[in-house]
Structures are given as structure tokens and as C-alpha cells.
Symmetry: C2
Subunit: 266 residues, 2 copies
């Protein structure tokens, strides 16, 4: 099943726009629990509450081959009806990007991936030729230094808006989305205005401080969907003890419901 349909169905089934970022930090895992065990417990405790999962590859690559194996096990642990977004932020010249697309879509079997736009269209194209997958382009990111380049003005328009407009133009197959940080609601509103029908992946709620009400209001489309609101640390580390999975479930439930109170139409 393609990403779009899978997402639509999981949003409806679980009545949720919440995505959980599976970013297991070795320093924060409960004692004696492996990465794969931790992720499986989180997934088992939350798979009826989320619209998607988003593992960030950095947290696996930093543990070498053992980490990549844990990533494989994590992907296998996600129920087949829930889309998995490989948060990889890749970007390379066309010939090389083809290999990254193979790695993310054929080898790791992600339903979607995040990409950096800096190299332009030929770095994106090998990903969008996978019609059933989705490529989320970094647009306005959630980190403090996002402003260094993304906010610079080009003929009266900040770079992140230029990226949004280009993404819209390139989206002939309907399988491009944008990554927009929850920590910048004004920018989020502007991007939603420029791309009214595009799927937005919105990290930065929770530990990074993004405001749920503003994110839902500015990030969802006219039907109250097409926004994937990602939370990582606030769910994963809701408890540092052996009750981490139950605590994660409670945190996810609270976030899902809080998001839903702001959705329109409810």
C-alpha cells in the first residue's frame, strides 16, 4: 500500500495526527534494555494511538552495524498498516541520490524519507520516482540555527518559502511533503498558505517546546489533516524506569487527545 493511503487510513483508524520519533538515545534507555527491545515496547504500547512512526537514522548509525540491525528490527516491529518515515535528511547528486533512495526505500523499506533540499531537483528526483513513497523536504527546521540560511531573503522572500514554492512545483506525482518545525508557528502558517494541500511533517512538539494548539491550527489543512505532528523525547523518556512503555502510552494518549481538541473540523 502506498504512503498516502496508509497514512490516511492510520489517521482515521487511530483518530490521530501524532507521530512518534523512534530516536533511542543510549544514555537514556532503562538499564538492561536494548534499543530493539525498547523500540518494540514503545511500538506495542502506542500503535493504536499514532498515525506514523519516524526513526531518525543518526541514533542507529551512532551504534554502528549493531545499531543498523536494531533499526531493521524496529521497522519489522511496526504493524504493517502504520507508515514509517525514515528521518535521514539525505541529499546528494543524482547518481548518488539513487543509491540513497534504494537504501531507504528498498533496503530499509521505509514508506517515506526526509531529504535536504540544498542540492536542488536532481537530488530529489530519484526519490519521487518511487510513486508509492513520499519525500519530505526540509523547509523550515525546528532548531535555533535554522535562521542562519533558511530565513535569508531572496527577492523579498525567505529561502524556506522559496523551497516550499519549488517543492509545490516539483510535486507532479503528489508525493512530496515538507518538514516544518513546530517551534516556528508563524513560518508554519505561511508555508501552509503557500502549500494548502501538501503533507507537512512537523517535529518540535514536546522537549523542543512547540505549542500544540498553534501547530494544529497552523499546520493542518482545511480538512484538519495532512499534518504529521512528531514527538520524540517527551514520549520515549516519559519515565526512566521499567514502566517506560506504560508512561510512553500515557504521554502519547495525552498528546493525541490534546492535538484532537484543536483539530477543525473536530
Amino acid at each position: 500500500m502506498g504512503f498516502k493511503r496508509k497514512l490516511r487510513e492510520s489517521v482515521e483508524r487511530n483518530n490521530s495526527l501524532l507521530c512518534i520519533g523512534l530516536d533511542p538515545d543510549p544514555e537514556k534507555l532503562p538499564a538492561g534494555v536494548t534499543v530493539a527491545q525498547f523500540n518494540r515496547a514503545i511500538i506495542d504500547a502506542t500503535s493504536d494511538l499514532v498515525c506514523a512512526y519516524k526513526p531518525n537514522l543518526a541514533f542507529y548509525e551512532s551504534r554502528g552495524i549493531e545499531g543498523m540491525r536494531a533499526l531493521e528490527e524496529t521497522v519489522a516491529a511496526v504493524p504493517s498498516g502504520i507508515p514509517i518515515i525514515g528521518d535521514a535528511k539525505r541529499g546528494d547528486i543524482g547518481n548518488t541520490a539513487r543509491h540513497y533512495a534504494q537504501a531507504l526505500f528498498d533496503v530499509f523499506r521505509f514508506d517515506a524519507a526526509t531529504l535536504s533540499p540544498y542540492l536542488g531537483f536532481d537530488s530529489i528526483e530519484p526519490f519521487i520516482t518511487y510513486a508509492d513513497k513520499c519525500a519530505f523536504l526540509l523547509c523550515r527546521t525546528s532548531n535555533p540555527s535554522a535562521k542562519d540560511f533558511q530565513d535569508l531573503f531572496i527577492q523579498g522572500q525567505p529561502l524556506y518559502e522559496v523551497v516550499a514554492v519549488k517543492a509545490r512545483e516539483w510535486n507532479v506525482r503528489g508525493n512530496i511533503g515538507l518538514v516544518v518545525g513546530a517551534t516556528y508557528p508563524r513560518e508554519l502558517a505561511r508555508i501552509r498558505q503557500l502549500c494548502p494541500a501538501m503533507c507537512l511533517l512537523i517535529p518540535g512538539v514536546g522537549t523542543q517546546g512547540g505549542d500544540v494548539a498553534a501547530v494544529v491550527k497552523q499546520g493542518t489543512d482545511a480538512s484538519g489533516v495532512n499534518a504529521i505532528i512528531n514527538v520524540s523525547r517527551a514520549v520515549l523518556y516519559a519515565s526512566a524506569g521499567s514502566d517506560f512503555a506504560e508512561a510512553a502510552r500515557l504521554s502519547a494518549l495525552k498528546l493525541r487527545d490534546e492535538i484532537n481538541t484543536h483539530r477543525c473540523p473536530a
Copy 2:
């Protein structure tokens, strides 16, 4: 030994600015030769001719865990005096970038890595805190679509120049370099002018069509060094037969010498 000293010594020892990109494309390897065998043969045939090696991670990730193992074997096959640049083009928010830095510098033990600048300083910082390593920021890339964003003007200056100026500003530890495509000699000249002392990593000679004379003239510093000129396909696939390693050596020797005829002082 730190990257800078390692590079300086290998440039002198092998009288070379040539870097070989270890990007083994499964479709182009001679029959019956594994990735690790191929790379080891290329390295054994060229290690007295290069200043560095640069594996691009995409070509390993596309083969999954087996590919990552081949990457480990490749790193181990490079003689210890030659620096290895992990061409990964990573870029993520600070907390995550720390994990990518660990992956590239601690796990894979690269001497340097390539990074995307799109997320700004806090995505670069975790890399440059490794004082003995080097972080090469994408500036003006070699691909045709580089122009989509990198050439856009910000207050009279193209984005890639703004990146170059920022990189110079951030380079307080002297361990930031820039990636500049050989296919754009005018842009290369401008970047060298803005950053007279910075180490430039210059891919795009060979299959991509960059002109050696122009690259050496515009890319090297006043002492004829601080430019790492990368060639991948033109060396790796100089022959498709069982003589691939000898053919790679001949191609590398020719390129090294051609580069040296244009170096100044000779």
C-alpha cells in the same frame, strides 16, 4: 594524527592532490568481485598516488548491513597515513547531529566528513568540536541542479557565497573546509577568493566533466595546496575487466601528474 597534518604529509609524500572516491556501484563491479575486494584492490594499486580517499556512504547503505561491513573493511584497508573523508552530507538538529558525528568519527573512524549547511551552525557544531577531524560543508555542488537554491541572490550575493563566508566565520578551530564542484570554475575562483586559506574538497573531475587545469588554477591556495581534487568513476571503472586495479592505477597516475603540471609553485 589529526586530519590536517595527515593530509599535509600525504600530499607531500605522494606529491599529490588527487583523492579517489570509493563509490563502488554494484552494476559496474567486475564479475565475482565483492565491494570490499574491489576497494582493497583499488587502494593497494593507488595508495602511493593519492592524498586522500573518499567513500560516499550512499554506495554502501544501498547494500544494507552487508554494505556497511564492506565500508568498515574499506576503512581498515586504507594505510594509516592517508586521511579518509566520509562523504555523508549529513545535517540535522544539534542533539541529533551529535549522533551523526559519533557515527562518522567514532564508529567509522573517518578523518573528515561532508555536511549539508541547510540547518545552520548548531548542525555543524557537534562535528567541529572534534578538533582533530575536519568538517567539509557543501558550498557550491557539482550537479546541474545546484543552481536551484545555491545560486539564488541574497543582498547581491549568491547563497553559496553566503555559506562560504559563514563557514569562514565559524572556522575558529581551523577544521572547517568547503565542498566546491569542479564543474563550476568561476564559482570555485570566487570561493577561493573569499576563503584564501581554507581546505577545498573538489569533486567533479572525470565523468562529471570538470576541467583539471581550471580546477587546479582556481582551487589551490597561494602555495599550490589546500585543494583535494576528487575523482571517482574515471579511476574506479577505467577497465571493466579483471585488470581493473592496474587500469585504475594508470588512470590515477595520469590524473595526479596532470594536476601537478598545473600546480603553482610546481
